[in-house]
């Protein structure tokens, strides 16, 4: 009596894809590096959001963090660019093909040090793009020097104390035009997943600063970006629930204790009050919260700001609906008569 055991059906998402289709190559980053946890969350989110992986394009600059796009979404194109200039590559690519779901992964050095200029101008343009900063306060790949997000007074392994004030990438993003701004911690799975999913659902520039400790160079006593420091000082603004558009969204919530944001794709970002009242559509209060937290030495995490109304760069350019990259000749080469008209004007 031989029975062939039928293997249990493989788990797939609504596109019929297994989670394997969202994975990348094996990581070469250090064990315990925060960046690895973020890669794992990205895999989960794109899988659970039923995104066709080949519609995603991954962009990065240079750094340990910028290497990580090789470690998730192997079925997506990737472009590992030059240090601090990933926004330019991404901007060009998304303009060339508006169907691209653009995802950038960068470090605090890549964004706030060498890349601060491109970062600021990306903010102004509100490119539809997901921009994840894996923020560890140091340059991991060049062996642990301070970056421009290192806190005043934070200490390197060598004992050197940082005496320059940090850039707060979220505050910059709020001030200069990003339409989705969040901060999270690589160790907070639940929160990070909700934030990344909301960013995927957002139409506009989503800046997500994820504190992502560098176990090798910045995880010691005296560092303000170590696992233990962040665990102690993490102040979640609220509890987040992300209800995707393809799910039934009848979630019971007691009156007055939550703030719902309807995302571009119809999904719902449900923001449940924790202690203080917080309206993530109010830019001024978001800035205030960031400044107060900095004063108090706290790290506030959560969705700081969402604006679903502001036109994106693509809206402003008023481009055709099809990707520019593949428009046929007759739509990109003006007619013989057009050339003749110009020639006549110049005679």
């Amino acid at each position: 009596m031989s029975t062939t055991a039928t293997p249990p059906p493989k788990k797939v998402n609504r596109l019929g894809l297994e989670v394997l289709s969202y994975k990348g190559s094996k990581t070469t980053l250090c064990a315990g590096c925060g960046h690895n946890a973020i890669s794992e969350r990205l895999v989960e989110c794109f899988y659970e959001m039923n995104i066709e992986p080949w519609m995603v394009s991954k962009f990065s600059g240079i750094g340990c963090s910028s290497k990580s796009p090789a470690y998730f979404l192997n079925l997506a194109h990737g472009f590992n660019g030059v240090h601090g200039r990933m926004p330019a590559l991404a901007t060009g690519a998304v303009l060339a093909n508006r169907n691209i779901i653009g995802l950038g992964v960068t470090g605090d050095g890549d964004t706030a040090s060498i890349g601060i200029g491109q970062f600021m101008h990306l903010l102004r343009r509100n490119l539809p793009f997901i921009y994840v900063i894996e923020d560890n306060g140091v340059y991991g790949l060049t062996k642990g020097q301070f970056s421009a997000t290192a806190d005043l007074g934070s200490k390197l392994k060598t004992g050197v104390i940082n005496d320059l004030p940090p850039f707060d990438c979220c505050a910059l993003a709020l001030e200069w035009g990003a339409t989705f701004v969040a901060r999270s911690f690589s160790g907070d799975k639940r929160q990070l997943v909700a934030i990344l999913k909301a960013a995927i659902a957002h139409n506009g520039l989503a800046i997500i600063d994820v504190i992502s400790p560098c176990t090798t160079f910045n995880d010691h006593e005296g560092s303000t970006k170590s696992y233990s420091y962040i665990k102690e000082h993490d102040e979640p603004l609220h509890e987040l629930d992300f209800v995707p558009h393809f799910e039934d969204i009848q979630v019971e919530i007691p009156e007055g204790s939550s703030h719902d944001v309807r995302m571009h794709d119809g999904s719902l970002l449900r923001i449940k009050k924790l202690g203080r009242d917080y309206d993530p559509t109010d830019k001024m209060s978001a800035l205030r919260v960031l400044h107060e937290a900095a004063e108090a030495g706290e790290v506030v995490t959560g969705v700081l700001y969402v604006n679903t109304q502001k036109p994106t760069l693509l809206d402003m350019i008023n481009m055709v609906d099809e990707p520019l990259a593949t428009l046929p000749t007759e739509r990109v080469r003006p007619s013989r008569e057009a050339l003749e008209t110009v020639m006549e004007e110049l005679r």
Binding site: S21, S25, E52, P53, W54, M55, S57, F59, P69, A70, N74, L75, A76, H77, G78, F79, N80, G81, V82, R85, P87, A88, L89, A90, T91, G92, A93, V94, L95, A96, N97, N99, I100, G117, Q118, H121, I317, N318, M319, V320, D321, P323, L324, A325, T326, L327, T329, R331, V332, R333, P334, R336, A338, L339, V342, M343, L346, R347
Partner: protein
């Protein structure tokens, strides 16, 4: 233009009544911001309308208003449109420079000047024509505010009388210049034109020999600046993403791109743009965007000048190794930004050819005229996509910002060459692909574009650290194989870039080689060498880098080969040295001009004569 019939008739007719017809240069000395550009263009255009080959060159300071500016118009019945070293006819409107301007004239030259400057006291071997501009402008221009501008049109009238330019052509040129929307302004200026002419007719007696006479050499031709021609070329090449950061002398090219795109590249039904143009925050961003767009399948463009090229260096290296196409127009000028940014130079030949880190080489196109700005734009996009690499089009300030007469552009008949791009269907059929595998033996792999709906489409793009499958690798053999393939790809390009223009003289022992705008002066110099020194020369104008086999063949046919260029260090020659055999290098001589003005024939002739020991 050098192919025009050269006839000695009319050169000189005796001494007393000597006339110089259609062969002289006019220089107008003003201050910038005074609105003289309109008057200068009208003057140039009216000579053009009389069928006489003409060129105009603006020499302006890096300043918005108040510093000296010179505009030179050359009429040449021989069709020589390079800069003429000598000024024959000066219009001295700028008190600041007038004395020096007059001192620079050769004996026998003519000079129209603003009467209060009393320039006639400076020399007694010139033909002087004083004109009281301030007195004349009042009656024709009641509004004092406009007088500064309208005043310029008076010298046009005076010059028209003295040179015998048809006033009907002047009026026609003037109305064309102002266009149908500014009829009032055109009429006001027309009054000034006539006032100048009448004053000259009644008060000046012509003593100089210079005059124009109708010819039939410009029929059907157009007048256009190189930057507008480059812009049109890009628009007709189907550019879809264009990025820039303003810098003289490339800004007017991108402004023309914007203008023509708005006119001709909107979807007829929806009115939406079939393009995106971004004014970036700097050249690092503009070239990065162009590369990102090219990588994603757009025909992408950026334009800049030397300082921008320097900033683009790192990204262009990535473009080379990661094999992403884009077209970069380099409108060359003197550098740095606090150098002479408004003067011309062939100053970036070496830096662009080898731009960036490691072993990098990039193809360059060298247009010499507006027609080539247009046609080479189309070719450059094809080459960039065919070879998946950044391509430079090397114009310069002289070509880009000056007005040139040109033949009307030929509509590009060749279909766009989008290169080796695999679609989802191709992938289905092939079952997969390896991004950096040299399948066809030309060094060029097949690529896929992002957002291709196929599980096998994706590949990961990074610099040189990868194998043929685009997998991360730091292995010695993978690296060497990859950069050797890139070298092979560059070798393949030699057959794809346009062949040089060659004129072989079987009796010549000497040859001249140049690129771009040096052509005009080089051809005139060959004529001078033949006429004045009985020295026959062959000629080769390179249209592109990498050099093709014709270069070595040409060098070996001649004893001495003069590489003529507009920079101090002989950059074109240095580029040749990198690949030629010592025997061939030994035949090379260098002729260089680097004063910031367009090179002139006399300078070349003098240098060759000295080196030939004539």
């Amino acid at each position: 233009m050098s192919t025009l019939q050269i006839s000695p008739a009319g050169e000189s007719t005796g001494n007393a009544g000597r006339q110089v017809i259609n062969d002289f240069s006019i220089q107008v000395a003003t201050v910038n911001g005074s609105g003289s550009q309109t008057a200068n263009n009208v003057l140039m255009r009216s000579i053009f309308q009389m069928g006489i080959p003409v060129s105009g060159k603006n020499m302006f300071p890096s300043n918005i208003a108040g510093l000296p500016t010179w505009f030179t118009i050359r009429a040449s019945r021989h069709g020589f449109i390079g800069r003429k070293k000598e000024v024959d006819f000066l219009v001295a409107m700028n008190g600041e420079t007038a004395i020096e301007d007059v001192a620079g004239l050769a004996s026998g030259a003519a000079c129209v000047y603003d009467e209060p400057l009393k320039l006639n006291e400076q020399r007694d071997d010139l033909h002087f024509y004083p004109v009281p501009f301030d007195k004349l402008v009042g009656p024709v221009c009641p509004q004092p505010k406009l007088r500064k501008l309208v005043r310029n049109m008076i010298y046009d009238g005076v010059v028209a009388y003295l040179l015998d330019i048809d006033m009907e052509e002047m009026r026609k040129a003037l109305f064309k210049q102002f266009g149908p929307k500014k009829i009032k302004a055109a009429e006001l200026n027309s009054g000034a034109l006539v006032a100048g002419y009448d004053y000259a007719a009644q008060n000046l007696s012509k003593t100089d020999p210079f005059r124009v006479e109708r010819m039939n050499e410009t029929a059907g031709k157009i007048i256009i600046d190189g930057n507008s021609a480059s812009a049109l070329g890009c628009v007709f090449a189907g550019v879809t993403v264009a990025t820039w950061y303003p810098i003289t002398p490339s800004s007017s090219m991108m402004e023309a791109v914007i203008e023509y795109m708005r006119r001709f590249r909107r979807d007829p039904e929806t009115g939406k743009a079939t393009y995106a143009i971004i004014q970036a925050e700097d050249e690092l961003a503009s070239v990065g965007m162009a590369l990102g767009a090219g990588w994603a399948g757009a025909r992408s463009l950026t334009a800049t000048a030397g300082p921008g090229i320097s900033l683009m260096s790192e990204f262009v290296g990535l473009g080379y190794y990661a094999e992403a196409p884009c077209v970069i127009f380099d409108v060359q000028r003197v550098g740095p930004s606090t150098g002479l940014p408004t003067r011309t130079m062939q100053g970036d030949i070496l830096s662009t050819a080898l731009l960036s880190h490691g072993d990098t080489q990039h193809p360059l196109y060298f247009p010499r005229c507006p027609e080539e700005c247009f046609s080479m734009a189309c070719e450059a996009f094809d080459l960039a996509e065919r070879f998946q690499t950044p391509v430079f089009v090397m114009t310069d300030l002289d070509l880009g910002m000056n007005n040139w007469m040109a033949d009307p552009f030929t509509y590009p008949e060749k279909p766009l060459d989008r290169g080796k791009v695999l679609t989802a269907d191709d992938l289905e059929r092939l079952g997969g692909f390896e991004r950096y595998r040299d399948v066809d033996g030309d060094g060029v792999g097949y690529r896929t574009l992002p957002a291709t709906r196929h599980p096998g489409a994706a590949y990961f793009t990074r610099g040189s650290g990868h194998n043929a499958k685009a997998q991360y690798s730091e292995r010695e053999d993978d690296y060497v194989n990859n950069v050797d393939r890139l070298k092979h790809k560059f070798e393949t390009m030699r057959k794809f870039v346009p062949a040089p223009e060659i004129e072989l003289d079987p009796e010549a022992a000497a040859g001249l080689i140049c690129v771009g705008t040096t052509h005009q002066a080089a051809q005139e110099s060959r004529w001078q060498l033949r006429q004045e020194y009985n020295l026959r020369t062959s000629y080769m104008r390179l249209l592109a880098y990498p050099f093709r086999h014709e270069l070595v063949e040409f060098i070996r046919r001649h004893e001495q080969v003069y590489i003529v260029e507009q920079n101090r260090d002989g950059q074109l020659l240095a580029l040749m040295r990198l690949e030629l055999d010592p025997g061939d290098i030994a035949r090379l001589r260098s002729v260089r001009y680097y004063g910031g003005l367009p090179i002139d024939a006399r300078t070349i002739t003098d240098s060759i004569v000295a080196q030939e020991g004539l």
